[in-house]
């Protein structure tokens, strides 16, 4: 049987990847299923990422030197968290990702979420915006406003933030390839509100390496893409002291199928890549490192996720201090946003997703996250409805205000199991990072397709485990079969595309043509030099150059990326 043969190799590979001899013999199969569900043939006593888990942990499982590996909260190596008092002093930021349809629709949703007690904005853009196309481009056909808000020009951005004083909120923008354009638009909108860039707080995701690895939204090839990222890091370090210039993201890497260890390793390798490029440009590490931020996925394996957050902080602190010589303790801190795992949600029995999200969110909090997005139960079906998004936010509020988990800093410290898992994840992630260093760094590794292939293999292995019943997904391969529950789904009006096309065309017709032409010429010239592009993009958006026009300048100057189609 082809499937059986495949299982052998998958299991062998899992064994090879786990380094010590803890790999337990597979226990006997369960004799019967519950509720008529098929029995799980061989329960996997391992984490979701394939790390073997013993029935009991004790002092022998924790290597000597634990106190040094832990440190105190707020101190190197930050295993126990970034702040001495953590959530007693300040809760995490509850930042719910929102964006759909037109700028007007999303602006209304922002006002609604702020009124519900949300403390930070987070913007989802539609596919054409993410890929650097205006709404009227042929590639945008059918996709305008579907997966997020459509932004083609500064005018859309003005509408998106209408009535929201930008010095009183922080805004995260999930934008990558054209991040420099959206950053410039945000600064330009603030200028119109009379607010200087130095007062703005928030993030652009702007992490292009993970795009090539996992999310696959790009314009230009890896090297010029990273160059533009570094331009932003450099410009923000000088002009936007409260702005996180990049959000180095494991989320998409995990969602594409990576294990927790791979998420940790490839994300931190990306971080190393950006730091190296900034240093090459002559920047002092302490000048920019305090504004680097991270973004983790939080999946179902409760203890593994907590260990991942803790291990991540420790790895980063050591790298920044010892490898890059950073002296400012803020440069050592891995500050992170987290989002519950979209990929763990099921279209079957969607109400169950509320429980999954609550457990994942709790792990992020116990792991010490700085900000959190909780997914809505309906996100495997469509963008969230207002009701579903509210339940997701309420889930965070319940954790924050009803459970008591915020009273104690890093409550799992000293747990034999959690400490052993934290050490194990650090070791395995560092072994990947060393392999990537040997390849010449993350850019070379990405160009060779190394992380991409590792992730695709993990995704396939996981799917086969599910199909063989070795992994249980409640409501999908077990405990299913009930009447399908239908929940309301958000519909996007196709009219939005037509109106957005009209608006971008009107902006092009109405703007000051001479000013636009000059700004575009200056930008083209800057692209042919080593100059930092941010000031040129800023001038272009002030002159109402559209996102698509600016992206076209990049396409002409740097070429268009095509991925080798491998699986």
């Amino acid at each position: 049987m082809a499937n059986a043969a495949r299982t052998e190799t998958a299991t062998e590979r899992a064994k090879r990847e786990t380094s010590d001899a803890e790999t337990a013999e597979a226990p006997p199969a369960l004799s019967g299923g519950e509720n008529g569900a098929p029995a799980s043939p061989t329960p996997l006593f391992e984490t979701l990422s394939g790390i073997p888990v013993k029935p009991l942990y004790g002092p022998v499982d924790v290597k000597p030197g634990l106190e040094e590996r832990l440190g105190e909260p707020g101190k190197f190596p930050f295993t126990r968290g970034l702040h001495p008092e953590m959530y007693r002093k300040r809760l995490w930021t509850m930042r719910q990702f929102a964006g759909f349809g037109s700028a007007e629709h999303t602006n209304q949703r922002f006002h609604y979420l702020l009124a519900q007690g949300m403390t930070g904005l987070s913007t989802a853009f539609d596919m054409p915006t993410l890929m650097g196309y205006d709404a009227d481009h042929a590639m945008a056909f059918g996709e305008v406003g579907r997966e997020g808000v459509a932004i083609s020009s500064l005018e859309d951005m003005e509408i998106l933030f209408r009535g929201i004083p930008l010095d009183q909120v922080t805004t995260s923008m999930t934008i990558n390839a054209p991040a420099v354009v959206l950053l410039a638009m945000y600064v330009a909108v603030a200028e119109k509100q009379g607010i200087g860039a130095e007062k703005l707080g928030g993030t652009v995701q702007a992490d292009m390496l993970k795009e090539f690895i996992a999310q696959k939204e790009w314009i230009c090839p890896p090297r010029p893409s990273v160059k533009i990222c570094v331009d932003m890091i450099e410009w923000c370090a000088k002009h936007m002291p409260k702005w996180n210039s990049i959000s180095i993201s494991g989320y998409h890497i995990r969602e594409a199928g990576a294990t927790a260890v791979q998420e940790l390793a490839f994300t931190i390798a990306d971080g190393i890549g950006y730091v190296e490029e900034c240093v090459k440009r002559g920047m002092d590490v302490d000048e920019f490192a305090p504004r680097l931020s991270f973004f983790w996925d939080v999946h179902n394996d409760f203890f593994e996720e907590i260990a991942k957050f803790r291990a991540g902080r420790r790895i980063w602190a050591k790298l920044m201090r010892d490898r890059f010589g950073a002296k400012n303790p803020r440069s050592w801190q891995l500050r992170t946003h987290a989002q519950t795992a979209g990929v763990s949600l099921t279209a079957q029995q969607p109400l169950n997703n509320v429980a999954r999200v609550a457990i994942q969110a709790l792990a992020a909090v116990l792991g010490g996250t700085q900000s959190l997005h909780t997914n809505s139960m309906d996100e495997t079906l469509a963008l969230p409805t207002e009701e579903a998004a509210t339940v997701a936010l309420r889930t965070q509020q319940i954790i924050a205000h009803e459970t008591g988990v915020t009273n104690v800093v890093d409550p799992f410290a000293g747990s034999y199991f959690v400490e052993s898992l934290t050490d194990r994840m650090e070791e395995e992630a560092m072994s990947y990072i060393r392999r990537i260093d040997e390849m010449g760094g993350i850019i070379q590794a990405v160009e060779r397709g190394f992380p991409q292939k590792e992730i695709a293999d993990s995704a396939y292995r996981f799917q086969m485990q599910v199909e063989e019943g070795r992994r249980t997904i409640v409501g999908v391969n077990r405990f299913g079969g009930e009447e399908e529950i239908s929940i309301p789904v958000l519909k996007i009006d196709p009219e939005i595309e037509r109106r957005q096309i009209e608006r971008v065309r009107a902006v092009r017709a109405r703007r000051d043509a001479a000013r636009w032409e000059q700004a575009m010429k200056d930008l083209r010239d800057a692209c042919r030099s080593d100059k930092n592009l941010v000031p040129y993009v800023l001038d272009a958006v002030r002159a109402y150059a559209t996102l698509g026009e600016i992206s076209d300048v990049f396409r002409e100057a740097y070429g268009v990326y095509r991925e080798p189609a491998v699986f």
Binding site: A2, N3, R6, M127, P128, L130, M131, Y133, A138, M139, A140, F141, G142, E143, R146, E147, E211, Q215, K216, E217, E255, A256, G257, V343, T346, A347, Q348, T380, L381, A382, L383, A456, A459, Y460, Q463, M464, V466, E467, I473, V476, N477, V489, I492, R562, E563, P564, A565, V566, F567
Partner: protein, 144 residues
């Protein structure tokens, strides 16, 4: 010996979610299909051209961006225009039930949502596209 089933796995539009497409492609390959994967960001024209050139028995289109109601009909229309209307057009992604029904009525095959096993997809394609290419190669041969 029976000719291997040839399937074009395609990603249409701007959608970069390729985890599912790659998992399905790998599973089909392990099940003995010949799999051609288009890679990302293909237009309907590029997909149909590849389907014609590769002489496939089925086109499996993956769409998670919400653009399925524009992209599936366009691919189907082009397949008919290019004389491969008998090739199975199937696929999957985040597609609401009502939209799946509407697309089926237009002539698209079975569509698969989240949580589907790869075995179900493979069995379906085995049943719905057997010999498609064999019967078509005669036609295609005379046209070339």
């Amino acid at each position: 010996m029976a000719r291997k089933i040839r399937v074009l796995v395609a990603k249409a539009g701007l959608d970069g979610h390729d985890r599912g497409a790659k998992v399905v492609a790998s599973a089909m390959r392990d099940a003995g299909f010949e799999v051609i994967y288009t890679g990302l960001h293909q237009t309907p024209e590029m997909i149909v051209q590849a389907a014609v050139q590769e002489d496939v028995d089925a086109v499996a289109l993956s769409i998670l961006s919400g653009a399925h109601m524009t992209l599936f009909p366009r691919v189907l229309e082009l397949m008919r225009e290019k004389g491969i209307g008998d090739v199975l057009l199937t696929g999957g992604g985040i597609i609401p039930k009502a939209d799946m029904t509407a697309l089926r009525q237009m002539g698209v095959g079975e569509l698969f949502g989240p949580g589907t096993s790869t075995t179900a997809i493979i069995e379906y394609i085995r049943g719905a596209a057997p010999g498609g290419a064999a019967s078509r190669s005669a036609k295609a041969g005379s046209a070339r």
